[in-house]
């Protein structure tokens, strides 16, 4: 059983609240750094995939988990980040300039798109973003001179200070690049959470009227959340482009948008951990399913819709039995061990609440 005593306000302000978490997360980063020496290149590629999904998850989490706005169109922002990065590099910008800029541009575009969407509550925002995701496909085709239309684009080899990075031939270098971006995005996320803006996000999510009464500008706060979310998503998109090696109008489809949203729900809404947990599920579920299918039905049998069907089933089970997602489950297990043998069953009973309408008529 571990007991913490807080001795200063800084305890709640610091990046790592106590020595315990410093050790845990320090060890985790260390492990991530030495991982290429522990596992082979194929698995490094898989871990890279998890990290890219986690970055995208962090982006959407900031919007959905923190401000409570569900976007079903984030694949569009993955696409914007990906195409912007590639086009900027084609224009001769160095990667170290083009990549950050791609995220920032995606963020600005997101914030601008968000402005009309801000007046929209829950479902209206959901449908507006669905429309966005569907339109993105057609718009990419219409913008063929820049985007290459249906034949798509192939991102160039990344050059950083004369060093080349490429996903297939140098997976370890690419892994470190993605890891660096993931750590940076996690830091941004964490910093936002412990500053006034992060609290304003929570306030907007839980009660718009009282947030307003406390001086929070609802529209501006939501637009900021949207912009930040899209910035991170844009970076993820650029990395996805490199990871895939080729992309076109169908790469970032509505299904990707939906998968992303389901991923953060399964991982656990409103937490950084949730983005990473969810990413593990999304990245490994297809492999796991195909191994399972091959061993049960023999290889070569195709079952259309199996992946999304099973994914949907998992999601339903989570919403019903563990609305806090994998992270919530993990917390419970941890608390159980920390309190051992004092944990009681009813400690985790769900609070009953009633729907408070934000609807206008």
């Amino acid at each position: 059983m571990r007991i913490q005593f807080k001795t200063s306000y800084d305890h709640d302000i610091r990046l790592f609240p106590d020595r315990h978490s410093l050790i845990v997360y320090g060890a985790l980063i260390l492990l991530a750094l030495v991982l290429p020496f522990l596992i082979n290149e194929f698995y490094i590629g898989e871990v890279t995939n998890v990290l890219i999904w986690a970055i995208a998850g962090l982006g959407l989490m900031l919007l959905t988990g923190q401000t409570g706005q569900a976007s079903l169109g984030h694949a569009a922002f993955l696409a914007i980040g990906c195409y912007t990065n590639t086009i900027l590099i084609e224009q001769g910008l160095p990667f170290l300039l083009a990549f950050p800029l791609a995220g920032v541009i995606t963020g600005v575009v997101g914030a601008i798109i968000a402005i009309p969407a801000l007046r929209l509550h829950g479902i209206y925002l959901a449908i507006a973003t669905i429309a966005l995701s569907i339109l993105a496909d057609d718009i990419i085709v219409l913008l063929e001179p820049w985007t290459g239309g249906v034949s798509g684009k192939f991102p160039d080899v990344i050059r950083v200070f004369g060093m080349e990075i490429e996903r297939w031939t140098m997976p370890v270098r690419f892994y470190y690049l993605v890891l660096a971006v993931a750590v940076m995005c996690t830091l941004f996320y964490r910093n936002i959470l412990r500053s006034p803006l992060g609290r304003a996000f929570d306030a907007v999510r839980d009660s718009e009227v009282s947030a307003t009464a406390m001086g929070v500008h609802i529209a501006r706060t939501k637009a900021t959340a949207f912009g930040l979310s899209c910035m991170i998503t844009g970076w993820a998109g650029a990395l996805m482009g490199y990871y895939a090696g080729a992309f076109n109008n169908e790469t970032f489809s509505l299904v990707i948008s939906i998968t992303l949203l389901m991923m953060i729900v399964i991982g656990g809404l409103g937490s950084i951990h949730g983005a990473f947990f969810g990413a593990v599920v999304v990245a490994f579920l297809p492999q796991g399913l195909s191994i399972l299918k091959d061993s049960v039905l023999g290889s070569g049998v195709a079952i259309p819709g199996l992946e999304t069907g099973v994914f949907g089933m998992i999601l339903i089970l989570f919403i019903l039995f563990e609305p806090m997602g994998l992270y919530g489950r993990w917390l419970k297990i941890r608390i159980w061990f920390e309190l051992f043998p004092f944990a009681r069953k009813d400690m985790f009973r769900r609070q009953k609440s009633y729907l408070k309408t934000e609807r206008l008529r």
Partner: protein, 291 residues
Amino acid sequence: MDGVQLLVSGLANGCVYGLIALGFVLIYKATEAVNFAQGDFMMLGAFVTLGLTNAEYLHLPFWIAAPLAILIMAFFGYLLDLLILRHLFGQSQTAVVILTIALGFVIRFVAGVIWGHEPQTLESPLAFGDVSLGGVVLGMADVAVIVVTVLLTWSLYQFFQRTKLGLAMQAASQNQMAAYFMGIPVKRVQGLIWGLSGATAAVAGILFASKGAIDPNAGLLGIKAFAAAVIGGFGSLPGALAGGLIVGVIEPFAARYLAAGYSQIAPYALLLAVLVFRPHGLFSQVRTKKV
């Protein structure tokens, strides 16, 4: 005459969108949740009918199969509420949105496993024959779709405006707790509404399948119907129908007169325009939340 023909087929398509949109609006009116699987309900309704009436399956007479399918779907809706949605009572709209999207995936998968992925046609008496009206030749199915849709919308509208149960349903959505204390059985009302929207989806499915082939992905039509519901205004039944008709009519005309690449954008572009300029739909009034 060409324009008229386009218009009528657009209207018939629009009615199907409108019927699915009706399902959205029903559930939204009564529970303030949105059923993103409504399109897949429609697909399932069509397949259930097909399974009951087609020769290679149960081969029941159509006029027995259709009401039976409607009943089955009503029960299916009620059951879904009982087993799944009721447990979300009080959770955020977002949770329900995500849950129903997942539900759509599952329904699509299951339908694919049962009925396969090849497009199939429903052996429906509505599918045959034409009606000639003043030189315009209309498919029997198109006429049936239009008539049934108008009747159904009208009766649902009457139900919500005039009957005690309908009003109770609306009250239940505005403020669950208050409705509960006023003696409205909020949960039972919610179950009934899900049943009702299942039945509506079955009607939409039967009509849709009478107009053409059906496959497990037909439910994706729900997205257009959803756009229709938003264009019409989510709180309003006639609005849903109007929205459906608008989307239905825009499509063939855009396909005819706009350059390729732009035509499939049209409904969504309209949707976004409506959301920007009249965020709560063309046919709804807006009031602010009371604190």
